[in-house]
Amino acid sequence: MKGTELVLRALHAKGVKYIFGYTGGAIMPIFDEMEKQKLFTFIMPRHEQGASFMAQGLSRASLSTDTPQIGVCMATSGPGAMNLVTGIADAHMDSVPMVSITGQVATGVIATDAFQESDVVGVMMPICKQTYMPLTTEEVEKTVHEAFYVATTGRFGPVVIDLPKDVQVQSVGEKYSFNPKTFRPKLPGFYYHPSPEREVVHQAIEMMNRSERPVMFCGHGVISSNAGAMLQEFAEKTNIPVAFTLHGLSAMPVDHPLSLGMMGMHGTVEANRAIMNADLIISFGMRFDDRVTGKLNEYAKNADVIHVEIDPSELDKNVATTVAINADVYRTLHVMLHDPELVSKPRRRWLKEVADNRKVTLDGVAEELASGVGDDGKLLMKSIISRLSDITAGKDIIVPDVGQHQMMAARFYNYQTNNSWFASGGAGTMGCSLPMAIGAKLARPDERVWSISGDGGFQMNMQELCTIMEQGTDVKIMILNNGYLGMVRQWQTLFFDGRYAGTPMTSPNYELIAKAYDLPYQKVTDLDQVDAAIRAAIDHNGAYILEFICDPSEVILPMIPSGGGFGDMIVSRPKS
C-alpha cells in the first residue's frame, strides 16, 4: 500500500466524511487516490483559508450530534499551507479539534528552498496543538491516528500533518501491519486528567454552600464536553446565576431565569455587576481571557474562585484560584450534582440585586428596539438580530463574523438550541463566518444556519459564495452593511475623538455579486421590510443573501474600555 492509501484509510477509520481541500503539486497524489476511491465528499473552497474555517464549522457543529466529525482540510505545500495558517491559529485560540494535512516537497530536497517549499512545521508549531512530519511511509497511518487522538483528547485543538511527496507515493514493505483497534499512541508526556479529585470537589461544594453571592461561569468547556443540560440542572439545583463567555453561549437557554447573559467587555450589566460584587465565582471550562476580565487587579476583588478546567496550564494563569479543579467539565458537574452535601439556598438578597441590575439597560434597549432605527433613520443591527431571534424562536444556528454585528448577535439572539453559536473568539478573525457556516450546515443539515457578517468581514472570504453555489449549501446569509469597519469605528468614536482612520468601507454591489453566484438577494433599507425579508430567506429552499443597510453610528454597549476594569463600564451612550 502507498502512503496516499494509508492516509485515506486512516481518515476513513476515523469517521471522516468530508474533506475540504485545494490541490497543488505536493498534495496531488492524495487527491488522485481520493478520486479513485470516492470514499469522501470532497469540497473545494475558493481559498485555503475557507477550507480551514469550513473544517472548524464541521467540527464545532457536529460535536453535539450523535456522530461527531472532525473537520479535515488539505492544502498543497508552500502557499497552500500558508493560506491555512489563519484558520489553524484561530482553531488553536478557540480549542477546536481539526486536522490539517499539507503536502510537502520530497524529503530529498527539504531545506533547499525547493519550489513551493515552506517550513510548515516551523510555522505551525506555535499556533497549533501538535505538528507531525512522517518521514517514512510506515509512519503515515499511525501518525494520522495519533493526530486525531491528540486533537480530540483533553483540551481540543488543531493538529497539522506535513506529508512529503515521496512519503505519499512510496509503498510500505510486505511486513507492514497496523491495527487501529489496538493502536495506542505512545505519548508519555501527554497529560490528560478527566476525573476530578474528590477532595477539591468537596472543598468546592462547601464553598458554594457557604456563599451568599455566588456566580457561575459557563465557558467553552461546557459546550466542548456537552455539559450544557447538566450545567442548567446544577444552576437550578443550587440557585446560582450563570454568566456566559462568548463561547459558552447556547450551552443553555439564554433567557433562563438564572441566566445573566454574556460577561466581559461587551457583557450585560447584570453579568458584570454580579461578578464585581460576587463572593464566589465557580468557573467551568474557560480561561479568564482579557476580554472577559478587564483590568486584572480590579477583577472580582471580593470573590473566591473555583476554577474547573481540563488544561492545567490555564489554572492560576490570569486569575488566582482558591480551589483549582483540573478535570473535564462534564465529569466534574456530574460528581458535584450528585453530591449529597450540595444545598440550594434562596439567596433572596443576591438575586434581588441581580434582578435590579437587569433593569439598568432594559428601558433603553426596549426603546431602541421599538424604534428599530438610528438617528439617521437607518436600521439598527440590534433590532435586526432581535427580529431574527423572534421569527426563528431562537432555535437556529448562528455563525457571526467579527465586529459589532457579532457582539449584537451574541447579545440579542435568544439562544435556545444547545451548541448553536459558532464565533471566532480568541483570535477574532474577520471573514470566518461564511466558510464556517458552510461547515456547520454540513454537520447539521436539518437545521437552519445563518451566516451573519459585516460589510468588512464579508468581503474577506466572499469567494466562498462560489462553494455555496457549487455545493448547493443552504446557508442564509446576512450582510449587516454599515459602510464601516464598525467595531473599530466605535473605538474611534469613543476613544479617538471621532477620527475615522481606515474605517470607511466601500462595498461592491451585492445584488450583482449575488447574481454572479446565482443566489437570490434582497436589500433591506426600511424597518417594515425586515420581517418579510427574513421570512423570504427562510422560505426559500437554498442559500439567500440579505443585505441590511445599517446605522453606522450605532454602538454596542455596555462596554468596558480595553484595559479598564468593571467599574469603568460604559452603560449608555455619551452625549455627542
Binding site: V121, G122, M125, P126, Q130, T131, V150, L187, P188, G189, F190, Y191, D311, P312, S313, L315, D316, K317, A320
Partner: protein, 161 residues
C-alpha cells in the same frame, strides 16, 4: 536602561528525544519573553528520553509555574519542575585558554586546583574547571580578563539532592 538582576531559576525537564522538541521548548520560552541564561541537554537514564536544564531569570513564582505548566502541556515533555537552589546542585564546566606568568598561575592553582589540559611555552595554558557558576566566575576574575585568549562554558546542568 538599567536592568535589575532577577532571581536565577533552574528548570529541569525530561523530554522525548526527537527532532523539534528543543525548538518547541525554546520557542515557548521566547514567547514568554525570557532570555535563556543557559540551556543544556543530555541523554537521560531512560532510553529515548533527554534531560534538559534551563536557567532563566524571574522573581515571580507564579510566572515560573506558568512556564513549567506550559512545558508540561507539550506532548514531548514528560515531566518538568523547578529545582530549588538550596535543594539541588547546579554545576558547569569551563575550558579556558589564557596567557599568564608562571608564578601567577601557580598561585592561582593553589587556590583552585584546576585540571591543566595543556601548558604551552610562552606561558599559555589551557585548563578545565568545573563547579558552581560562581566558582568559575571567580576563577575568571582572578585570571583577569586582559589575559584571556578563549573561554568555553557548558552552561548549567543540575540535579536534586
Amino acid at each position: 536602561m538599567t536592568v535589575k538582576k532577577m532571581k536565577r531559576r533552574a528548570i529541569l525537564a525530561f523530554v522525548q528525544d526527537k527532532p523539534g522538541t528543543l525548538n518547541k521548548i525554546s520557542m515557548m520560552i521566547r514567547r514568554k519573553m525570557y532570555n535563556v541564561d543557559t540551556l543544556t541537554v543530555c541523554k537521560a537514564k531512560a532510553a529515548g528520553v533527554s534531560r534538559m536544564t534551563i536557567t532563566l531569570r524571574e522573581d515571580d513564582e507564579t510566572k515560573v509555574l506558568q512556564v513549567i505548566r506550559q512545558l508540561e502541556k507539550f506532548t514531548e515533555v514528560i515531566r518538568a519542575k523547578e529545582l530549588d537552589r538550596e535543594q539541588s546542585y547546579w554545576r558547569e564546566v569551563a575550558i579556558i585558554k589564557f596567557e599568564l606568568e608562571k608564578k601567577a598561575f601557580e598561585k592561582l592553582q593553589k587556590k583552585y586546583q584546576v585540571e591543566i589540559l595543556d601548558a604551552q611555552p610562552h606561558d599559555i595554558y589551557i585548563v578545565q574547571i568545573a563547579g558552581p557558576t560562581e566558582r568559575i566566575d571567580s576563577f575568571l576574575k582572578d585570571v583577569g580578563s586582559e589575559h584571556f585568549i578563549e573561554i568555553a562554558r557548558t552552561g548549567v546542568t543540575a540535579m536534586d539532592k
